[in-house]
Symmetry: C2
Subunit: 283 residues, 2 copies
């Protein structure tokens, strides 16, 4: 999808949040702010929002000299959800439909998106889990179940730290030998990288690869050849989160987008209510 | 006060809201957006936020050809609060301390600030009135009462449409012959102009003048000579709203700022909780 005018104030806010994490030097805050404003004034709105996200965080890394401002926060979220993991696992196992419950958990985990909301805390996560378990999903989960049953090669595109533990809960319900989990090729916002896959046990569960790009989404032209081949070969792609939706919503592959619609631009594009829990197949 | 980095995303959002009101032509939305982004990338942050506000709305007027995008909305808010007026007046008259109640009403009215929040509706206004009547005020209302008792020349700087009817309720508690009510010199956001003072009965109650400027605040250098003389002569100035606070907070005059702190930049600058109801004397 293209970048909308409403994405722009959000970019500026996101840039401020991120540069403040990277450094306390206000001169650099100002440089980043002015740089992002100038870039946004000339940006190509036909690009998807994560392309601008990549530019913003590159600028912050260059000007602050900090290559991973979210490093500590990412660890905290991974550790926090790892502590919840045994309970969540039990809730899935004891539920009447473990696969359904696991999909809902995976969508709930998408609330941990610090690009959209820097103020995510434990109580928001707990509330989102409860909401997700009883919500009317937007989309058709039965079609996803059918697709999983017939799939031979499942590519699971991860999104954020913390959220990856929720993904693990869903992946544990899938045939492990058919699944490859994908992380970003480098640090960007609180998105998952290979280090997070290791930290959260994902690498012990299934094959994990990085996509060779640090766009906070999946822009195929910017990904590695190896990833593009896996993407082309997969017969089912599970794409988590807004960034993957924003960059892959026009794709002709068999993709299921699992996410929580956290901003009005996304809910408007999908045609659902803001805040919806979504299992949407690419059209 | 100066413009903070956190004001910038708010400017962009405000520009989008306003240009969408002015025209449905998306090309003009984009021109305004790019123009505001480019201007913000080079702006002088030592200026107060309303100076940028003035620039944004000038650009919108020029590009859209619409000289008052908020015209209809301003009428709607004036009419809506005029309908509430008899009830609110009765609540003031029946209260144990009518002056205190009237000050609280005037502060409650400051919620109708479409620069800060374009989504103001009736239920928000009703809730804010009830909150204001029982809230712990930030500042010292007794000092305001003393200042009113001893004042010979009161300048009351109005802020927004709809809110002006709440101001009328307070001004009805003041000595009418000592009060001059001030409106902006031209349309800007939903700020009051002479037409609104007429529409809401303010002109029949006290002297009303415009300040000769369409900054959504009071930047003295941009105001008329006549207004500056009145400002210099007044021994009590009641300044409503965020815009007047942002532009006059450094003044050495005897000013009481009456407002609701509707954004974190303002509450941070004042040292109060976000959402506070404020009666603050200039220091």
């Amino acid at each position: 999808m293209k970048t909308t005018y409403d994405c722009i104030p959000c970019f500026i806010r996101q840039a401020l949040n991120a540069v403040r994490l990277a450094t306390s030097d206000e001169k650099i805050h100002e440089q980043v702010l002015r740089g992002v404003l100038a870039a946004a004034s000339k940006m190509n709105l036909d690009q998807s929002p994560p392309v601008m996200g990549q530019y913003i965080h590159k600028l912050i890394r260059e000007l602050s000299g900090h290559d991973d401002p979210y490093k500590e926060i990412k660890k905290q979220f991974n550790n926090f959800v790892l502590k919840l993991y045994p309970d969540l696992k039990q809730r899935i196992q004891r539920s009447s439909n473990p696969m359904d419950t696991a999909v809902r958990m995976a969508i709930a985990g998408n609330i941990i998106d610090l690009g959209v909301n820097a103020e995510i805390n434990r109580s928001i996560i707990f509330n989102t889990i409860e909401e997700a378990l009883s919500a009317q999903l937007f989309g058709n989960i039965e079609v996803l179940f059918d697709s999983i049953d017939s799939a031979k090669d499942i590519l699971y595109l991860g999104d954020n730290c913390g959220e990856i533990v929720f993904d693990r809960l869903l992946i544990e319900q899938l045939p492990a030998d058919k699944v490859t989990f994908v992380v970003r090729g480098g640090p960007i916002i609180n998105d998952v990288t290979m280090a997070d896959a290791r930290e959260t046990g994902m690498t012990e569960l299934v094959d994990v690869m990085d996509n060779g790009s640090n766009v906070p989404g999946t822009v195929l032209e910017k990904c590695s050849k190896e990833f593009r081949e896996c993407f082309a070969h997969a017969d089912l792609i599970i794409a988590k989160g807004q960034g993957n939706y924003e960059t892959l919503s026009g794709s002709k592959k068999n993709i299921f987008f699992l996410l929580k619609a956290k901003c009005p631009v996304i809910s408007g594009h999908m045609g659902c209510e803001p805040g919806s829990f979504i299992v949407k197949r690419s059209s």
